[in-house]
Symmetry: C2
Subunit: 279 residues, 2 copies
Amino acid sequence: MIAEGFKPEQQYETLRNSSVETVRRAIRNGNYRGHTAGLGKGLLQCNLVVLPERYAVDFFRFCQRNPKPCPLVGVSETGSPMMKTLGADIDIRTDVPGYIVYREGLPAEEVPNIIDLWQDDFVAFALGCSFTFEHALMQNGIELRHIETNLTVPMFRTSIKLHEAGPFSGETVVSMRPIPRNDVERVAAISRKFPYAHGAPIHIGSPEEIGIKDIKSPDWGNAVDVRPDEVPVFWACGVTPQNVLAQAKPTISITHKPGLMLITDVPEDAEIPVLSQQQ
Amino acid sequence: MIAEGFKPEQQYETLRNSSVETVRRAIRNGNYRGHTAGLGKGLLQCNLVVLPERYAVDFFRFCQRNPKPCPLVGVSETGSPMMKTLGADIDIRTDVPGYIVYREGLPAEEVPNIIDLWQDDFVAFALGCSFTFEHALMQNGIELRHIETNLTVPMFRTSIKLHEAGPFSGETVVSMRPIPRNDVERVAAISRKFPYAHGAPIHIGSPEEIGIKDIKSPDWGNAVDVRPDEVPVFWACGVTPQNVLAQAKPTISITHKPGLMLITDVPEDAEIPVLSQQQ
């Protein structure tokens, strides 16, 4: 249990060595509101999109048609906040460290939980996140600049069109990681093994070809250097839905705060993002 | 163009060496009503489930929660028969060689097309199929008994519970392929690479552990021998939804006839089952 009054850095260091139950309790009780990178080691983490059910069929279609930015890993029953297939006791109203509430597609407020906002017609969608393939890359000896330098990965709007579904359309958001030229092929092959975590890179090498004007000015996150022996490698990014909501303008929608993800009970190397089935 | 009056075997042999456009035209015109194994070489083939939109959110949930039997590879707009993300001109009403119509979940009739049955509230779901990983296994030198002997792969009901979603629940249907003991690990690793085609085996070795009483009496398809040096290997099967419809009892639903699949324009080794995106 994390005591109130801890400084965020102390909390993070304590939670980094804690069980997922302890981490989840600290988040649920409002005692930890920081980022989740490195917490719940080895477990799948997710992006979150909550929408009223009348948008659900189109959002399902949107995710099915755009599985690289929006790999669907879990969906609640309509009106139920429990993510049954992702854990034994995951309550989507409290188990993310921070939420953004959108009205008509625009960010309206940031809240620590969504207990009072929850509606009987809400459906919660969990989407895979890049932590999974980043861990696999690091286990294979690939160093990631933004992690080494303790920065948030740089993210960019692109000209890569999404397949539309109902009101959901727009362009893909990507994250960028500089990779040594000789490692690019191996990095692509490793990340391709994780279809629930954005899969293989969506573009390699030329930011201008995908509509990125200045690699030093990301739209989200922090700029990182690309050294002469390195190539900028771009992956589809879980921030894409937040970009799409701005255009779709649902009356109300809720996402996680970037970097503050849902930690599940599913191992991140599981073949499918579903708690093992009972027989 | 396949002339009327051809014998099915002659048609099949001709179409086997034809372009996908020719194959699709023959199917669309009602001139070919046979199985699609070996046709449209190198292209993704799919199982089909058509449902009224009021069942769509739950069926989406069902597929998301059971991605091994039900890997979703394409979904139509409500009321539109075109499968836009799977091909430039795929009409789900005519482009499958044979359909089964279910009323209250029970097979009511078999029809060569569903033009007259199409409803404004229909949503068509395409699910990946085992042809994809079978081709990859054969390319890696693994012989498949049912193909060698020109039989339909044996399929069995099991006790492996599905994750339910609304009215959709029940048990997984599996297909079985005997694999030489020494190749089992390699076969599992190869098929795991195809998450949109049922992925890795769901069980290896003991039919009785998954509720199969007699390996020589499949529920669908033909029995094949398991030789002393072989192990029975079980994959989740695209016939599962047909089993589930019987319990869900939607007023009307339509599937392909087993073995008579939808042939798409998407390469079967594509990372995602979506025609390449325009930029």
